[in-house]
């Protein structure tokens, strides 16, 4: 299962990439496989305040709706309109074109509570046993 080294992860299967002062967020390959076909993504409004560990977006499959939690607190700076139009991007390219939203982080210290690629890979291994 793909777990890119350069990203950081949450226990709730989100990834985060630090990109010029912005935190870009998406869901992991493990998550999109569990979800199966994504049919709709409800993205937060730009400018919305989000808190670490609280729901910031919703991803829907045919049969279920899943909360996507903010890995860090801050203000939403950008959202991925492409995913709103073509939800299957989340399944096809979850680490790239299927990114969800970006946040201007307000508490840089929070990053230390995120999981490394290695730690996350261990977690999903444990889960699937």
């Amino acid at each position: 299962m793909q777990v890119p080294e350069e990203l950081q992860y949450t226990k709730t299967h989100e990834w985060m990439r630090q990109d010029a002062g912005e935190a870009v967020v998406g869901i992991t390959a493990h998550a999109q496989e569990e979800l199966r076909d994504v049919v709709f993504v409800e993205l937060p409004k730009v400018g919305k305040t989000v808190k670490q560990g609280e729901p910031a977006a919703v991803i829907e499959s045919v049969k279920a709706a899943f909360d996507i939690y903010a890995p860090v607190s801050g203000t939403v700076s950008r959202v991925n309109e492409a995913v709103a139009k073509t939800p299957q991007l989340v399944n096809q390219d979850c680490y790239g074109a299927g990114w969800l939203f970006a946040v201007n982080p307000s508490a840089p210290a929070e990053v230390s509570s995120l999981l490394s690629a290695e730690a996350y890979a261990k977690q999903i291994q444990a889960e699937t046993h």
Partner: protein, 499 residues
Amino acid sequence: MSDLLIFERSVPGRRGYWLPPSDVPAVSVGEVLPEDQLRAAQPPLPEVAEFDAVRHYTRLSQANFSVDTHFYPLGSCTMKYNPKLNERVAALPGFAWLHPLQPAAQAQGILQLLYELEQCLCAITGMAAFTLQPAAGAQGELTGLKMIAAYHRRKRRARSTILIPDSAHGTNPASAALSGFTVVQLASGPDGLIDLQELRRKLTKDVAALMLTNPNTLGLFERDIKTIAALLHEQGALVYMDGANMNALLGIARPGDMGVDLLQLNLHKTFSTPHGGGGPGAGPVGVTKALEDFLPVPRVRKVGARFRWETRGRATVGRVHGWYGNVGVLVRAYAYIRTLGREGLARTSRAAIINANYLKAKLQGTFPVPFDDHCMHEFVASLKSLRAHGVSAGDVAKRLLDYGCYAPTVYFPLIVEEALMIEPTETESKETLDAFAQALLAIAHEAQHNPELVRRAPQRMVVDRVDEVKAAREPNLRFSTGDAPKVPGTFGAGRTVAS
């Protein structure tokens, strides 16, 4: 012959119905109504002849499963036979052609029926009073929750939480949240029932009520119900019972005696009114004396030998229906209760429980039922063992369609893996139950030796497995004349609904 839409059968100039000629002076609409209040063009409805419509809607009906044609062992839905006698009574002009604003003097018959229905429901459930207004079980729940909120407000208590077992039907938390409450989930115990420790842990001073189903969605009777009710009452909280599973309790136990404060019944389940492909239903709510003041108004009152509507209620939550509720459905339920009478109602639950246990006995060797006791009127089997062959409960449900049986409820309750919830009801014969058991066992065999067959099911319906992902990603919720004609399916040419 192909499965066209009625719009695709439209031919300009065709008509299906004519009004008699007018017997009053003609009026030029443009002269009596302002231009800007008038439609620019006729509504673009289809133009078909009467016979076009008759053939279209008759053939379309044949693409449906229905209780009249197929077995529906749907857990918690109580898909029993819908007696035609009830239809006959409801269609009497004295009921069907009555206006809700006619004075009581012109409506004594329906008022008497509604009054007697309320009395019967009280007798059956042990509750003190009922409102017949809610149009469905879910609306009944909402009404009950509004009453719970009003009850606590009157006692000047701030209670904002509702406890709900994790086995509950989705309408329970949805109704609770919509009524402004926070939902706190109760983890079920290892025996599938409410765990008293867990309940005590979560029963804080903030709890307004517990919402439970009894028997629960696993078909198990909450044997500690009196203790549970006592705990809630001690904390000044209420017990709401989702009465969806009432078919297990007729003449066996009464919720009012269990300490239940409010419950809703689903007349389209226990009381045989037809589902109609999604409604109408009715969800009357029964309460104890302590909560009677909060019931929606108006209510039927008997004064001497006459009946009338009482529109005032000191502490009523108000009105939940435009008029008096789904009266046509209430008439059907009344006819059913009068047909069955006290012995028939008791026999109904007995037969429902025996039918369910019989099926369970025939299946549990192959599909374990996680909670071992005898069940009440329904049970939940786990199809987890089929995962090894790559077959899910959902696949089995689809394959059952090929065997001529509507699929039982799948993936619910959430606490059983690969759940199949089965409720045969009392109106199914032993022969039908035997055939169903045989079908399920045959499918289990197929899953082992030919799993692809099960995964590709259904194969014998008018359509193969439907692409729900496409439907959700590209919502197409209405026909537009610009739509290109789709590949027509065929009703009849070698593909019929399996019998």
